[in-house]
Amino acid sequence: MSDAIRNPAGPIELEARDLSVLYGETRALKYVSLSIPDRKVVAFIGPSGCGKSTLLRCFNRMNDLIPDVKIEGEALFQGRNLYGAGVDAVDVRRRIGMVFQKPNPFPKSIYDNVVFGPKINGYKGDFGELVERSLRQAALWDEVKDRLQSNALALSGGQQQRLCIARALAVEPEVLLMDEPASALDPIATQKIEDLIYELKQDYTVVIVTHNMQQAARVSDHTAFLYMGEVIEYGPTNELFTNPREERTEAYITGRFG
């Protein structure tokens, strides 16, 4: 393995082994191998079309939903291949939650948004407690506690995104995947999401895709730079941003291409 790929030490939560994704004839992700440590924040950066979202989506089988997609190699969660025989994609998505670029709350009350997943999963506990805990974890509780029955679509964009995070957390996942979670938000709302990510890593493994390099620098422990479907460099964030090993990484983070 190239010395530009430095897999972190410690317990591994997610791992890609020779992972490729083909959209029809096009290989969008090319033989990627990297490991993501437990309870850390890992960021994928790279120019548009580099494969960073494709790689992220492999980890909760979101690519399954796209026609003509073919996955080769392995994506492992706690050592088990997510694409192995007998693995239930719905169960995978419960344990590996996802937050998308645009906030997408259901057109229901704040309360109903949070309890939606747990209800489907047959949650037996106290729903009121679950709603409060999830909203607190998403740093939204204080802003909405007096209007849990209001329609979620009446919230601001930043609040809607935190509601989506609360909704993802309500089903008690182990990993949170975030695909450009702040790119549709203003700077203040972005900062709230970034602070939240910093808090979340106490309990969750977080993988974030962002085209905002500064955001990756601010929030992540490890960063992978992808280019044209390959991982060019992967390592500790402070090293990748102060002293990258690959010329292409340096050119990208200094704004010389991409």
Binding site: A217, R218, T237, F241
Partner: protein
Amino acid sequence: MSHRHFQDDLDKLNGSLIRMAGLAETAVKTAVEALTTRSRDIAYEVIDQDGGIDAAEMEIDDHAVNLLALQQPMARDLRLITIAMKIANDLERVGDHAVNIAETVIYMVQGAHFPVLPEIEEMARISTNMLSVALDSFIRGDAVMARTVIKRDDRVDELHANNFRILLTHMMEDPRRIGAGMDLLLVSGNLERIADLATNISEDVVYLVEGRSIKHRSADRRDREIGDAANALPSVEAAPSADRAD
């Protein structure tokens, strides 16, 4: 407004700098004590602890570069990080000058006794005091206090020029005193540099607090700018911070 963990990091950087300042200040005071008591043991103490100051400089530089790269600091945060690197560099030099003085003391005590000039003792007092006040002004974020330091530098320069003249006269009168005279001149030069570095640190504190640089001004203009503020305070020697409790 800054991120919570960024604020924690800034506080850590500030803390490292304050600890390093304490080490450098102790080094100078110990070196001066070694000089006035002609003690080799005390001089060796200064030399032994210099590694700690060097390590602190590298740690602060490393931390500051990471913060610049990862957090995109702005305004006062940006100024704090950039001056942290400069102050760490200045403090490392202060430590080296203390070591130079200590080494000279070790050399001097082997030779014939030559009394330390009262001018050198005065210089040592003013220089160490300038350093203490400069560091206090950083810790308190007090630009007025920092300006009192800058005003004192001229007196130290004057004393250094006097020492040069006095020691030269002694050496011309009695060539057997050349060795000791040169040693004392080196000590005087090191004390003068320590006062310069205290001045640099004070200028950086003014930049941190007010966001404007007062370096490299003509003497007249500088005196006008720092005059009023500095005159409003008691002189440096009388300042309550002269003997820091912490």
